[in-house]
């Protein structure tokens, strides 16, 4: 039964892959530096690795937002988000899967009269603003540094092309890893509390139940990237602004760094160990990051070449996505409960299930004093 419910998560994963692979490699394909087939394969492999190895951090924050604690509820929340992302992908608009899933969870909260954790919501919504701004700033700085290096070293145009191509593959792989790490929460987060997977060991490596779930989600993302990413790649790679190969590298690197910053538990621990304020581990939008990075470059070049109409459409998509996902979730939950007579919320099952998923992680977070991450909200998912 669980796997039938999981199908909506897989659909969401597929939609995410189709939509967000463009963010990682769209500019590289758009500038004709890499072939779509090549990037889809690289993206698939590294998304899975990122999801399995580093996917736990942002999942935690998303869980605090709402308390989707029944399989049917999880199914419908994921399906609503997936449907929204899929529609937007068909319209060639790079949207945020994070926004879609957050909208859907809030739709569930509203329908079931469950409280929405405002702290988490604020944290997540703030990142929707911080993420593109940070990406824009990063792309400006990186571009200036790269330009300085290229001018100083007087690299031959052909050699630069080769370095660029190799750089795009490496940075794209890093971007895919970060995408998997950061966005797997969107795809599989709602299923963790109801997951039947138990911790296991393979070739001496411990694999938690959550990681097994993340692997399945990662595969779904990879399949989406391989089969249907060309539409949004067209928008990101060509329509928003004409991107040179060097700019493509800068944009992808900025985006990957932003995703990594908001996904890396190690980075957060490092900041804490130096007494710095930790960055929240939040599933941010790779679409917002990439568009922010492109706008950053556009601003650096005096705003020339930016296609404001496309930019407007994308921004509108960002506003519509959470609302649309929320409404779809709300309406479909009504049908699920009243027409199909399915249980869409229950608290007790998830408490026990989630505790089995990753107890070590909870303990570690308590140690570093992340009160917001260990409060009982963990058990309310």
């Amino acid at each position: 039964m669980f796997f039938i419910y999981l199908s909506s998560g897989l659909f969401l994963g597929w939609s995410l892959g189709a939509n967000d692979a463009a963010n990682v490699f769209g500019t590289a394909v758009g500038s004709k530096m890499l072939r779509l087939r090549t990037v889809a394969i690289i993206c698939g492999i590294f998304v899975i690795l990122g999801a399995v190895i580093s996917g736990a951090g942002p999942t935690q924050t998303l869980k605090e937002l709402g308390a989707v604690d029944a399989m049917a509820g999880s199914f419908m929340v994921a399906l609503s988000a997936a449907f929204t992302v899929w529609r937007m992908t068909k319209l060639k608009i790079p949207v945020s899967t994070s926004q879609a899933i957050v909208g859907a969870i809030i739709g569930w909260n509203l329908y079931t009269n469950s409280p929405t954790d405002l702290n988490s919501l604020t944290k997540i919504v703030l990142t929707w603003i911080v993420c593109p701004v940070l990406a824009a700033l990063l792309s400006m700085v990186i571009y200036l540094v790269v330009r300085l290096i290229v001018n100083k070293l007087k690299i031959h145009l052909l050699r630069l092309d080769t370095y660029n191509r190799v750089g795009l593959i490496i940075v794209g792989a890093f971007g895919s890893y970060s995408l998997g790490a950061n966005n797997i929460a969107n795809v599989m987060g709602v299923f963790i509390p109801v997951s039947p997977f138990k911790d296991t060991s393979l070739l001496g490596i411990n694999i938690s139940g959550a990681q097994q779930l993340f692997f399945i989600g990662g595969v779904a993302i990879a399949v989406g990237a391989y089969t249907y990413s060309h539409k949004v790649i067209d928008t990101v790679g060509k329509s928003l602004m004409k991107i040179s190969p060097v700019s493509a590298l800068v944009v992808v690197l900025s985006q990957a760094l932003v995703l990594f910053i908001f996904a890396s538990e190690r980075l957060r621990d490092l900041l804490v160990s130096y007494g710095l304020p930790p960055l929240p581990l939040v599933p941010v939008s790779s679409s917002q990051a990439i568009v922010g990075a492109i706008i950053g470059l556009g601003i650096l070049k005096g705003g020339r070449g930016l296609r404001y109409r496309v930019l407007g459409e994308i921004s509108l998509g960002w506003l519509i996505t959470p609302v649309m996902a929320g409404i779809i979730a709300f309406v479909s939950l009504f049908f699920l409960q009243n027409v199909f007579k399915m249980e869409i919320n229950s608290t007790k099952v998830s408490d026990v299930r989630y505790n089995n998923v990753n107890p070590g992680k909870l303990h570690r977070q308590t140690n570093i004093g992340q009160q917001t991450l260990v409060k009982p909200a963990i058990f309310t998912y």
């Binding site: 500038s31 004709k32 530096m33 001018n151 007087k154 690299i155 031959h156 145009l157 052909l158 050699r159 092309d161 080769t162 191509r165 190799v166 040179s244 190969p245 070049k301 020339r304």
Partner: protein, 212 residues
């Protein structure tokens, strides 16, 4: 594989530019020798120039093939090929002009020789500056402008020398057909500078494109 291909291509482009530069120098030697009456040396260098032109053609085709076969520089490929093809016109015009000298063997009056040498000098200096500008386009965009400036300067000087020559030719008391023949040679030599200027214009635009 990718690094190997780009290394081969860099060497081929350098060799191509060396060939064009050498062609310009050989052309100057050809004209000097022709004006000095050293017909045998002139013929030797004329043949050498012809061979250089063939070599440049073959290198250019190789570069074109390699660029497309290995999908190198997708962003700048069209621009690079445009530059290399138009540079080919410079050495091509030099070869044709020297061949015309060899076929028609025009009698250049003593009083025009110095002006002819000046014209040829400006033309070849323009071509050499063009080669430097092209090299800079590949490696050092900041330096392109300096070399292009020289190309434009030598083109103007060549035009001025050609005009002076034409005026001197038509002041001479000889047959109109002879004057026409001499003018024809002046125009052809000067055409090399015009070709260089045309390539320089392309490079200037492509440089702006790359820096924006």
């Amino acid at each position: 594989m990718l690094f190997k291909q780009s290394k081969i291509l860099i060497n081929e482009i350098d060799e191509y530019l060396d060939t064009v530069s050498e062609g310009a120098l050989v052309f100057r030697q050809c004209i000097d020798e022709y004006l000095n009456g050293e017909k045998e040396k002139f013929e030797t260098h004329r043949v050498a120039l012809s061979n250089l032109e063939k070599k440049a053609d073959s290198l250019r085709r190789g570069i074109e093939n390699r660029l497309y076969t290995h999908s190198l520089m997708p962003e700048n490929r069209g621009d690079v090929l445009g530059i290399l093809e138009s540079i080919d016109n410079v050495i091509d015009t030099a070869k044709k002009t020297s061949t015309q000298f060899s076929i028609e063997l025009p009698e250049i009056p003593e009083e025009l020789r110095r002006e002819f040498i000046t014209l040829t000098m400006h033309v070849t200096q323009g071509a050499e500056s063009l080669v430097l500008a092209t090299r800079a386009f590949f490696r050092d965009l900041g330096a392109v402008k300096d070399h292009l400036h020289k190309v434009y300067f030598y083109e103007k000087e060549a035009d001025r020398a050609a005009e002076n020559l034409n005026r001197s030719i038509f002041k001479m008391g000889c047959d109109l057909c002879y004057k026409y023949q001499l003018r024809h040679f002046v125009i052809n030599v000067d055409k090399i500078a015009d070709r260089s200027e045309a390539v320089a214009d392309r490079i200037a635009i492509y440089t702006i494109k790359r820096t924006v």
